[in-house]
Structure formats: C-alpha cells, structure tokens
C-alpha cells in the first residue's frame, strides 16, 4: 500500500494540489512535453533505498536525476567522518531536522552532533511528494533507521575485512568499530577513507526497538538553535544574490478581475525600474523593496471585475451548491440509520458553520530566483519543493532538469506553503530583468492571495438510548473536507458523508485539514448528548468508546486536569474533547472564565494528552503540542477570513485576530510514550480537540452552546 496515495485519496480538501498555478505566461512554446512518468512520480514513494552513497574522494557533485526515482532517503558517511542524511522533507518549524538527525545518530551509533541533514533541495535530495499529512516521522524514521543500520553494517564489514575477523564479533559505537577481542578500533572516518561503497537496502531489515534507543527518544535541543537566536539563519526571505533586484506583483482589486486598461509609462521612467506585463500578470523590479512598491503604485490600471459570493451568505451558498452525486469514497454507511433513530430514546440535531481561516505564517511566502544560461534556481519556503520544481518547469516551458528548488528552513507553513506562487513570480521577474529577483509577499498579499482552510457546513443527527448508548449517527460535511470525518465512537448505525462544493475562495490544506472542523462538530454534539442524558461528558464518551488508545488519552488528560471539577466561581466552566487522526490520539480539557457583564471570554487552563507511538524527541513534541493548542485557540475563538464580492475585507493583523500573549492560557502537555507502537507524526492531531474542549467549557460556564467556528469573534454577550 502506498500511504501517500492513500492520503490523496481520502483528503479532497487539499484543493491546492489540483489547482493550476495562479499565473500563466504566454511564452514561446518549446519542445517540452511533460512525461507521464514525471507526473506519476510526484505520488511515488519507495520502500527501498540505497544504504550508503559513497562518492569518490573530492566529488560532491551528484544529482538526484542520476539516481533511481524510488529512493526516498539516503545517507553518506564521508572520509572526514561527517554523516550526512539527505531527505526531500522540509523543516518548517516542526523540528524534523532535529528528530531525523537523532534517528540517524541513534542507529548509526554516532554522536548527535556528528550528523548533518540536507533537506528539501531538488538537486541534492531524493524526490519527495511533500512535507504534509504528518508523514515525515512515520515514513522517514523507519527509512533512516534502515539506511543507517545498513551503513553501519557496511562499516563493520570494512573493519572485519581489515582485521580479517568475523563481523559478528565487532561492536559499532561512538562513530567507531571496535574488536573487543583484540581491543583494536577504527573510526568511521578511517573506515570510509578511499572507499566507494554503495548498497541497496534489504527491505525487511530489523531495526532497533524504541526501548533500546539511546539518542532518539531524548529531549535534545533544536539543531541550529544558535543561528536562530542570533538572527544568522537565512530564511528564503533573507536570501541575497549578486546584483539582486526586488520584485512586486500588481494584484487585482478582487478575485478574478481582469485588466481593462493599462498605463505603465510613469513607472517605467522611474530609476532602475523594470515593468513586466505578461497577460494579466503585471510586476515590477527595482533596486529596493520601497522603490518597487512606489513603481507599482505608479502603474495606472483599470480592472474588469466580476460579482462574487460574500462571507455573509457563504454558508447558505455552500448548502445550496453542494454537488448532487457524491461518489462512493466520500460516503460511509453501516447498519440502518432509520432503525437506529427509531430505537433511540433521545434524538439530537446540530448544525455547525465553520469559517475560512488563514495560515498567516509569520514569514510570508517568499522566493529568490536566479537564471543562469536558461537554468533556473529558486530559494523558496515551500513544503513541496519537487512539486514547485515541476510547476516552475511547466510554467516556463523548460525541462524539470533545468529547475532547482532549494528550501531554506522556513518561517512556518502549517499546510499553507504547498504552492509555488512566490517562486513563479520571482522567476518571471528575474527572467525579464536579467538579474536575480527576490519577491516577498506583503502581509496583505499573504492574507489575500494565499489559499485558505475551506469554510464548511456540518450537520449532525444522532440517537441514543435512555442510558446514553449511541444508536444512530448521521454526519454530513459540506465543503470543508473529509479528514477526521468518521466517528471513533461505537455506533451500530451510521451514515457519514462528505459533500463537495465548487470552490468559492482559493482553498487548501491547513494543519489537520478538515479534522479540526469535523472534530469540533462531533465533540460539541457529543457534549450536547451527554447533557441530554445528564451524564458527565467524560463518562458519556467512555460509555461509547472501546478504542483503548483513545480511552488512554482521555484518562490521562482527565487525571492531570482533575476532571470532573466543581465550579468555584461564577463564569467558570470546564470542557473535554478527544480525537484521533493519522495514527495519533489527543484528548483536551479546558477551563474557561466568562465575564458575563463584558462578554469577555478567557481560556484559563488547558491540559492536553497526546499519544503518537514511540516519542522521538519529547522536547520538540511538547513544543508542537502546546503550539497546536495555542494556534487552535485562534480558529476556535476569533479567526475568520471576511470577504465581500471578491475582496478580503480583513487582510491585516489589526483586523484578522490571531492568538497573542494575552490569549495564552496555562497549557500542560501530557505525552504518552508508547514505545511498543511505531512513531506517528505529531504536527496536526494536537490541534483537533482544543476548539470543542473550549466550546464545551463555554457551555458549562454559560449554558449557551456555541455551534459555529469561530465561537466568539466579538466576545460572548451575557447569557
């Protein structure tokens, strides 16, 4: 089974994967046809990999085009003893540079400090479909374990040959191979010297179990931490190239607007300014960002606009425009819903509207592009370097082998940096200017021209017996997506369905995809049911839950939180919610305080229990879990993209509110380390249960059930 392909199959909300690039250029057609194979290769994930890629002394020039496409990771032990891992995955703040390095060090038996990782560079690293779907840890951890183990065995083999002894008796540790019998030892550097050894990897090599990890499993600090606190790390928005100019792109006033009239005579006359027009694409380059901005403002244009849907009417629009025939894979049925509802003592129906939200990574989309003899190199913050490479090749009608995409460790992404917009723009401008160009989106561009987490309408209908056993579960999601759509609770009669709606705003992946919306609807609904039968919300969940891993996180969160708790002051409330996605489990308890007079809502304390199998780095994991809770508070309480007739009306941090220090509660992460279960990813699931936990706490505090996301964009009026 191909896990990537499976992901694509179940996640229709990754709209940006199938979207065309935002710019199309009318370029001279060349002899370039995208090979079918290349398109398919985007989804290809290999099971085998080359163990050790030894290059001849002095030669570092190898290109992944020369290596089999099915390789997904490789490792190099140099003559200087430096261990270098190569992966197409990108570091976007989730700390995989550290966790992967730990895994390599652990299995190769070298110090953590001796491992270097080359990431997300299309000319150096193996093909990779992208850094998304919480796939890095579950795929890269076992792969790097296997390649590292094979490399270690090769080095042991070299030593055995050198000493003319059996390899079985030798010990690899601390970057050297030792013969306990003769007390001889040789360092990996010495063993690697003058060798060109490569090995294909046997598929079923055993790997070191988590209980025996020595470097992995430890809370090691983030790699390159010093570069971040000194400001020396170069993000793509910091890349500076010889003779580089600064680019800006002219944006239409509304989505879908086309150029009606155009006059760039003033802009063109400005010092050092180049204006580029290619169809509806208009951009400028100048010696500084400020001058580029002035040049852009000097272009006189009129636009032809088209009427569009506004946020005021979006939810009724989504319901009305749902596509009639949904296919089999977007529907899940079990038992008889009619029977389940008929036998129920209580029936509950809820509807949940979920607003569009923006990723708003602090580093906006950015790219620096350079053309050299028809070949393009782009530095850009993206989660999909190879897909970016392919898009650039396609847009500029050049072979993929003429495009190189390099991803510096990036100022966050959260699922938002899958497309190649800034890269295309920088490359187009660089080609026109004949010099390297850097494009950094403004915050307003970021809030307007990036893609959003899709809005949605979710309808839930359920039935349960007098003693709180679920008998029927009907769940419909319109537009927001299928992730986390299936209930983890035991219900004999179910109907779950996702309804596709044509895109209104440019939409796509966001940390956790639609699982956040689906979990909010389901867990809010579960809370409502618990109140109908007057059961404690935790007890009610346990009554309907047999999944042991889910029960374990619920118990762990409840224990640390002190659930159930009694209110000690007015306006106080406690809520609980849980969820599972992508092989990991989460349960969240929240305490809120509502000021009834002012309507002010404060989340006071959050305890989140999380389990993702064997933990690779508890410190990095804690950062991800706490961070997801805090980020999730934004979408839960106040984040919403507002739009009117094709214009985003709140495209600034003043009007689009994200969580700030004052919004941050006391957050406790309880990490369950299941060393008996393979490590799963942790970037997404920890964001899924915070919104319903807070919503349920608000209900407990006020008696008001808030069914929509965001819940309190303008505070909570006194109930």
């Amino acid at each position: 089974m191909n896990p990537m392909r499976q992901n694509f199959a179940v996640e229709p909300e990754r709209f940006e994967f199938s979207a065309a690039p935002i710019h199309k250029f009318d370029l001279a057609r060349r002899e370039f046809f995208k090979l079918l194979g290349a398109g398919v290769a985007v989804f290809a994930v290999a099971r085998d990999a080359i163990a050790a890629q030894e290059t001849p002394a002095g030669s570092r020039a190898f290109h992944n085009e020369e290596l089999p496409k099915e390789i997904t990771s490789w490792l190099h032990v140099g003559e200087d003893g430096v261990v270098t891992g190569f992966t197409g995955k990108a570091e976007v703040g989730q700390n995989i540079r550290t966790s992967i390095s730990q895994t390599i060090a652990d299995e190769l038996r070298v110090p953590f400090e001796g491992v270097r990782l080359v990431m997300a560079n299309t000319s150096l690293t193996p093909f990779d479909a992208g850094t998304f779907g919480s796939r890095t840890t579950p795929t890269m951890t076992p792969q790097f374990r296997r390649v590292a183990e094979a490399a270690r065995n090769l080095l042991v083999g070299v030593a055995a040959k050198e000493w003319n002894v059996a390899p079985e008796g030798l010990v690899a540790a601390d970057a050297k191979v030792t013969d306990p019998a003769s007390k001889r030892s040789l360092s990996y550097a010495e063993l690697a010297r003058g060798k060109t050894l490569a090995q294909n990897l046997p598929a079923e090599d055993p790997i070191t179990p988590a209980t025996e990890w020595k470097v992995a499993g430890k809370p090691l600090p983030k790699v390159d931490g010093r570069a971040f606190v000194t400001g020396s790390h170069q993000y793509s928005s910091d890349i500076s190239l010889d003779g580089m100019l600064y680019g800006k792109v002219l944006r239409p006033p509304s989505f879908g607007a086309t150029l009606a009239s155009y006059d760039d005579s003033v802009a063109k006359a400005m010092n050092g300014v180049t204006v580029v027009r290619d169809g509806d694409f208009v951009g400028v380059t100048a010696p500084s960002v400020h001058e580029a901005q002035k040049a852009l403002e000097a272009i006189r244009v009129q636009w032809k606009e088209v009427p569009q849907v506004s946020s005021e009417e979006i939810f009724s629009y989504l319901k009305k425009n749902a596509e009639a025939s949904s296919n089999e894979r977007s529907r899940h049925q079990k038992g008889s819903l009619a029977d389940g509802l008929a036998e129920a003592a209580h029936r509950v129906e809820t509807t949940h509207n979920v607003a569009y939200i923006a990723h708003a990574p602090l580093e906006p989309r950015a790219a620096a592009a350079q053309w050299t003899e028809g070949k393009l190199t782009v530095w850009t913050g993206t989660q999909r370097p190879f897909a970016n490479r392919d898009e650039l090749a396609s847009v500029f009608h050049i072979p993929e082998s003429s495009v190189r995409v390099i991803v510096p460790d990036t100022g966050a992404a959260y699922g938002g940096k899958h497309t190649s917009d800034a890269a295309i723009e920088a490359a187009r401008l660089a080609r026109a200017a004949g010099k390297p160009v850097r494009v950094v989106w403004t915050r307003e561009e970021e809030f307007t021209w990036a893609y959003f987490r899709p809005a949605g309408v979710i309808e839930v209908k359920s039935g349960m017996s007098k003693d709180g056993k679920l008998t029927a579960w009907e769940f419909h999601n319109y537009h927001s997506g299928m992730s986390g759509i299936e209930t983890p609770y035991d219900v004999a009669n179910q109907h779950t369905e996702y309804h596709q709606v044509p895109l209104v705003l440019r939409s796509g992946s966001y940390r956790g995809l639609a699982a956040t919306a689906n979990h909010f609807a389901r867990e809010s609904h579960m809370d409502a049911l618990a109140h109908v039968v007057r059961m404690d919300p935790l007890e009610f969940r346990m009554t309907n839950l047999s999944n042991e891993r889910m029960r374990a996180v619920l118990e762990a969160a409840a224990k640390s939180f002190g659930w159930p708790r009694k209110k000690t002051q007015p306006g106080q409330g406690f809520g609980i919610a849980c969820g599972a996605e992508k092989g990991s489990y989460v349960a969240t308890c929240a305490e809120v305080a509502v000021n009834r007079a002012s309507g002010d809502v404060r989340v006071v304390r959050v305890v989140e229990a999380f389990e993702c199998g064997a933990i690779v780095n508890p410190d990095g994991l804690r950062n991800q879990v706490v961070g997801a809770v805090i980020q999730g508070l934004g979408g839960a309480l106040f984040e919403a993209v507002e739009f009117e007739n094709g214009r985003i009306t709140n495209p600034h941090f003043v009007t689009y509110r994200v969580p700030r220090f004052r919004d941050v509660p006391e957050v406790e992460a309880v990490l369950l380390d299941r060393k008996d279960i393979p490590s799963a990813g942790a970037g997404e699931t920890p964001i899924m249960a915070i919104a319903p936990a807070v919503g349920n706490a608000l209900f407990a505090a006020t008696g008001v059930r808030l069914d929509n996301l965001p819940m309190v964009p303008n505070g909570l009026r006194a109930a």
């Binding site: 703040g93 989730q94 606190v229 910091d238 500076s240 400020h290 906006p364 600034h652």
Partner: protein, 159 residues
C-alpha cells in the same frame, strides 16, 4: 542617489543609499544585509522587525531611515559580544523558546527593551509588553519562561 545619510548600527557607521523615506527595516535587511531583523507584516503589528533605537524597542518597518539617523541602532546581530550570547539570547536558547523561529529576533529585541526598564518583570508585565509580538507557532509559554530566566541571569550578572 546622493549618499548623504548615515546611520549607526551595532556601533558601526553606515552610509545609506536608499531614499530617506524608506522604512529602516529595508535598509537594515536589504541594504546592510542585517537579515536577522524580519519583515512579518510591514504594519507595526507583529513585532518581527523590532530593533533598539537609542536603546528603546521600535518597529523598524514603521520608522523612516531618515528619522532613525540621530540615534544608535542595535539589531539582533549586535547582541553577541566576543562569542558570548546576550543573556536574553541564551535564555531563549536554553528554554527552546522557538519553533520556526521567525519571530525570535523580534521577541529577543522586545524582551531586552522590557528588561532595560523593568529588571524584574512579573509574568503579566511580560505578557503586556510582548502583546505586540506575534508568534504563530504558539511558543508563547516558553518565551515567557525565557524572559523570566533572562531577568534572573542579568540580575545575577549585575551583582
């Protein structure tokens, strides 16, 4: 362009070629190559571009370079002395108070600004002072921890 304007950054004087109405951020980041100061919004709303002007924390995207010429400017690059990190940098490193770290420079500079006027801030003082610094990764609790830790280190050092 007449190179009449000069600014003092991290104890060094630099001629400025960009027009005087250019925001200081672009001069630091693009003209002088001091890329530790970040563009996050250009609207004075996120704090990623925070530098010290005459010792006070300022959003460099909101200050025209012409207006910044009178006072010495300190950026994140000017904090390390003889290979030794500033206590606030060290505290951020010790606490692992960053994920994507794009906000870190601004957080560090703002925190130094706070500690200069309040050597022993309470948690709510730090929250109040850093309200204008956005971290999208949600690393706020560790930033608060780091600033408190830095305050302690600086007090010990001063004794």
């Amino acid at each position: 362009m007449a190179k009449s304007l000069e600014i003092e950054v991290n104890g060094k004087r630099y001629p400025v070629g960009y027009p005087p109405d250019t925001p200081l951020l672009y001069v630091l980041h693009d003209e002088l190559g001091l890329t530790g100061t970040k563009y996050g919004c250009g609207e004075g709303q996120c704090g990623a571009c925070t530098v010290l002007i005459g010792g006070a924390p300022r959003r460099s995207c909101q200050v025209p370079v012409g207006a910044a010429a009178a006072k010495p400017i300190t950026t994140i690059e000017g904090l390390e002395k003889e290979g030794k990190l500033h206590p606030v940098q060290q505290a951020f490193l010790d606490a692992g108070a960053f994920q994507c770290a794009f906000c870190t420079s601004g957080m560090v500079m703002s925190s130094i600004g706070l500690l200069q006027t309040n050597a022993n801030p309470k948690r709510e003082d730090i929250v109040h002072f850093l309200q204008g610094n956005i971290c999208r990764c949600g690393t706020h609790p560790r930033v608060l921890e780091a600033v408190q830790h830095a305050a302690k280190m600086m007090q010990e050092r001063a004794q």
